[in-house]
């Protein structure tokens, strides 16, 4: 008997059409698995039974009508930063406890229209600020491969849900690596699209020039299917684009004749583990054996990426988070004597340590007398980093490297030292600063924990990133599997 919680979209869609099982049965199988496992994994913050019942019924009716859409009836989890009308959405923060959005964001509503069935809301670092999901204002999430370890972050709940077989697909957001890094640590596929590929309408903003919504899945093809359903111009996000996104056309064309860039700076980055290096070296060899030409490229400003990022992202967040004032929604204090006291009391109680740290850092960098030295300087360095990638892509079609310098680390290992946590994203944040599409695919294990291979492509070339990822998946035989969890 097929285990309904270990299928990919492609397999599930075929079996749904053959009436091997119904969409309602597919959802029930996932709900039962959640009931069995999520007390230990804690991927979810809340469940949405009223939605999954209605959407599964609707999916079954669509299938009866002969609707062949690939996402009809597919069980999905949604990160707690994406607004869904009437569903409590809190960005992992106490300050938004009880907030029920009056509208549904574009990416989610497009997936609903395509027939996906929402299971619930997944845990994340507060306002997506973190690399371990330990900054959640509710509880940490546990890595399905080793429950004593973090799932990565900030979209750790979504990565863990897909890894544990609790959801077939999930949505995350990636501002500095928050999809790719947890995908790597949980052994699943995670993709950050080009900035502007997916509408951000209905996403609770962290850093608006860096944020992108993207999919988690257990195969490269599934990630491509979800991306395709979400992508495209939306009148509600002025930065969204209608550039062609034909990601499945040359999906299986392989890498023969493609040039894949290997940046030395990424392979010798501070703190990279030897087991990670070995798994990635093996992946590079598999791609070479599959016909790719491996070329050296340079990203000379890599050492400055983290510094530029930790000015730009906090500066944007300090501005975005000014809206949480206790007046229009969320947490509020009853007994304030004046408006300033109301603001400060609400924000003192509502925001956790990492959010406060970044709001202060950003406020400092933007404050009078420091703007030129920090914010303007960081924006100029962003130009240099973008130029690094432009230069590299003159020599190659895509850049391959590790996604994270380390495998999943023990819960608590980095919480006392913010800089060590920030270094988790040292290989991913360049993609955000330059607006590139990037994907992480599983490339084996180190000490029985998953390692991720990152593929970065030029802007708007999701098709290239997915084609290389697919070629690797085929050539290596390494597939995203449901974690070996009781």
């Amino acid at each position: 008997m097929t285990d309904l919680t270990e299928l990919t979209i492609k397999e599930a869609a075929r079996l749904l059409r053959l009436r091997s099982f119904s969409a309602s049965e597919l959802v029930t199988a996932h709900v039962e698995r959640i009931e069995r496992l999520d007390r230990r994994v804690k991927a979810f913050l809340r469940f949405t039974p009223e939605l999954w019942e209605k959407q599964a019924d609707e999916a079954d009716r669509r299938i009866l009508r002969g609707d062949l859409g690939p996402l009809v009836g597919i069980p999905m989890a949604v990160k707690d930063v994406l607004c869904v009308r009437g569903v409590e959405t809190t960005a992992g923060s106490q300050i938004l406890r009880g907030f029920k959005p009056p509208y549904t964001g574009t990416a989610v509503s497009r997936l609903f229209d395509a027939g996906a069935v929402m299971l619930g809301v997944t845990n994340c670092d507060e306002f997506a600020m973190g690399s371990s999901t330990e900054n959640s204002g509710y509880h940490p999430t546990h890595n399905p491969w080793d429950l004593e370890r973090v799932p990565g972050g900030s979209s750790g709940g979504s990565a863990a849900a897909v890894s544990a077989g609790e959801a077939m697909i999930a949505l995350g957001t990636d501002t500095g690596g928050s999809i790719r890094q947890p995908a790597a640590l949980c052994g699943v596929v995670g993709m950050k699209p080009t900035y502007g590929r997916v509408s951000r309408y209905g996403l609770i903003a962290f850093a608006s020039s860096l944020d992108q919504i993207g999919p988690f899945a257990r195969s490269v093809e599934d990630a491509a299917i979800v991306l395709e359903a979400m992508a495209g111009r939306d009148s509600l996000d002025a930065t969204s684009s209608d550039r062609p996104n034909d990601v499945l056309r040359d999906f299986d064309a392989g890498v023969k004749g493609m040039r894949l860039g290997v940046p030395r700076e990424y392979y010798e980055v501070e703190g990279i583990e030897s087991g990670v290096k070995a798994a990635v070296d093996k992946a590079v060899k598999a791609l070479r054996d599959a016909g790719a030409e491996i070329v050296d490229v340079a990203l000379p400003h890599t050492d400055y990426g983290l510094a530029a990022y930790y000015i730009i992202a906090p500066a944007e967040c300090s501005s975005n988070l000014a809206r949480f004032d206790g007046v229009r929604y969320g947490m509020s204090t009853e007994d304030a004597q004046n408006i300033t006291e109301a603001y400060t009391r609400t924000r003192r109680r509502g925001f956790g340590t990492e959010v406060r740290r970044r709001v202060m850092l950003g406020t400092y960098a933007l404050s009078s007398g420091y703007y030129d030295a920090y914010y303007l300087k960081a924006q100029k360095v962003r130009t240099l980093i973008k130029r690094d990638f432009d230069g590299a892509f003159e020599k190659c079609d895509a850049i391959i490297s590790a996604t994270s310098p380390t495998v999943a680390f023990p819960i608590g290992a980095k919480t006392q030292d913010p800089l060590s946590m920030y270094l988790c994203d040292v290989l991913t944040l360049g993609g955000n600063l330059a607006g590139l599409p990037g994907i992480s695919v599983p490339c084996g294990l180190s000490n029985d924990l998953p390692v991720g291979l990152q593929i970065l492509a030029p802007q708007w070339r999701e098709d290239t990133a997915l084609r290389v990822a697919r070629a690797y998946e085929v050539a290596s035989g390494v597939r995203a599997e449901v974690a070996p969890l009781g």
Binding site: P102, N338, I339, R347, R348, Y364, L433
Partner: protein, 97 residues
């Protein structure tokens, strides 16, 4: 170099964060540590480099200026901690004379 406690207080005031006892020392040290890393940006000569605010070349995106439905008053107020008669209630913003 750690920030001074005055700087932490000033930044917290600007961001309306409100500090707990012990926060001044805690954030002075932590922000100082992060800024020490960030200071490496000063090694780069960027005099002739233009700043980048966003990376995708999008020009101004305009739409027809025609009325369209927005949130209803009830929807807009549904999450308000203290709605009163169709308004958001806030504490006084001016001291009494």
């Amino acid at each position: 170099m750690p920030l001074t406690r005055d700087e932490v207080r000033h930044v917290a005031m600007l961001a309306r964060l409100g500090l707990e006892p012990g926060d001044e020392e805690f954030y002075a040290e932590q922000l100082g540590g992060i800024l020490a890393h960030i200071d490496r940006l000063q090694q780069l000569d960027t005099d002739s480099i233009p700043p980048t605010a966003q990376v995708v070349e999008v020009a101004n995106t305009l739409r027809e200026d025609v009325p369209r439905p927005g949130l209803s008053q009830a929807d807009a107020l549904a999450n308000a901690p203290a709605p009163v008669d169709g308004f958001f209630r806030v504490p006084s913003i001016q001291e009494e004379a």
